[in-house]
Subunit: 247 residues, 2 copies
């Protein structure tokens, strides 16, 4: 079954050679999540096509010949939205649908990013704005297969929240414990017991209580907490595994 044959050898050689022409373009797209107003948001930009009809789409674009994929994402984000994100990882490569872009075959490497969007809220009264946050539950119909990409990114975020301390990348540092708790509730779409959540979170030893008191909201003032990234890295090297799950 695995036996070698001349025919197969030629085939192997052929498909590994560069004699065959290929007309596929490589793009990157980024799903940038932000958290503000007690909601999870996705950053979208507005585009115009030849058809002159404006679509909302994920920030992204074609990769340059001399540019790493990850650099292409960073460049696009910087050019299109002027943002630098806190967390960035590769999500999935979309290239099974040959016609996902009607102009040309495009394989898109999608990335997944997190940012603290608290200081970045866009004025809703500026109609000319072409970059905007959308609540993740109110995403319009987007260009290409971008809705699908967001769905996948959201699943990834939900999953990762439980086994990697990435929630902090959506919050200011220092942050309020209530913000963190709320973030988990909203993204995981379930209620979480405040006492158990705090107990578990603090038990890891990767969060430090500061002496800073926040008077931002009504009610009793709250202490601010710091996520200690360095401590987390250290513990991880020692075999520690972050995991937080709720019924």
């Amino acid at each position: 079954m695995l036996r070698y044959s001349i025919k197969k050898y030629i085939c192997v050689h052929f498909t590994h050679s560069f004699f065959i022409m290929q007309n596929i373009k490589v793009a990157v797209d980024a799903v940038v999540f932000g958290y503000h107003q007690n909601q999870l948001h996705v950053l979208l930009i507005q585009q115009k096509f030849g058809s002159s009809q404006p679509y909302w789409a994920l920030p992204g674009g074609l990769v340059r010949d001399d540019e790493a994929l990850i650099d292409a994402v960073k460049r696009e984000l910087s050019e299109e939205t002027n943002l630098v994100v806190n967390y960035l990882e590769q999500l999935y490569t979309f290239g099974d649908d040959i016609n996902r872009d009607s102009r040309n075959r495009v394989v898109s490497v999608a990335y997944f990013a997190l940012i603290d969007s608290n200081g970045l809220e866009i004025k809703a009264d500026t109609d000319a704005e072409n970059v905007q946050w959308f609540p993740v539950k109110e995403i319009p119909h987007l260009a290409f297969d971008h809705n699908q990409i967001i769905d996948l990114a959201f699943l990834r975020l939900k999953a990762k929240l439980s086994y990697q301390p990435i929630g902090f990348d959506l919050l200011p540092n220092p942050f309020l414990f209530s913000e963190l708790e709320n973030l988990y509730c909203i993204i995981l779409e379930k209620e979480i017991d405040r006492r158990n959540f705090r107990k578990k979170m603090l038990s890891f030893g990767i969060i430090e209580e500061t002496e800073i008191i926040s008077h931002q909201k009504s009610g009793r003032p709250a202490k601010l907490f710091l996520f200690n990234q360095q401590k987390y890295s250290q513990l991880t090297q020692e075999g520690f595994h972050f995991e937080i799950k709720f019924a």
Copy 2:
């Protein structure tokens, strides 16, 4: 910061247009894992370059213009190794190193596959063979960044084994419980208590005991078990989550 500007708009439009030329090729590569002789193996093929020096490499090749990525992997596997795998998923896209292929910039979408390699063992005496299983701990120096790809695939396999019932895709069906247990021990690289393992595995209700008795080995004959994929799918829809962890 997110304010719209003409300059930015032009930039967005430009990078999303197809006026810019791109000279990047798109390839797929597959890390195929097999399990036999109580060891985890990876399938490699032998290639020749212009330099005429033969390298071992992952099965893979360039994607055709009219072909889904996943179909490209299946085609390459079929052409190069004549195999149909039990499990196949996208692993990661390698495209940060511009020079990973010295001939041309190539972005490679790597896949991760599992197969029951028990009936497929290659005769070691056939020197002309250009497809071969290598124990995962004895992989030679490969072409391109293929060693790195295998490392990542192995990490993925290790991780997935704990939260997805993919071990069965490396075994015959029906299988011996001792095989399953051994597979977990070897891939996770730790010892597992036999009694606890069996108890936990059976508690999910996705494995059925058959009346078939195996007399293959010395010692007391063993019952064969069946993994019930359908039952697993059903349970998953009902919110069941496979998870098996050991100290």
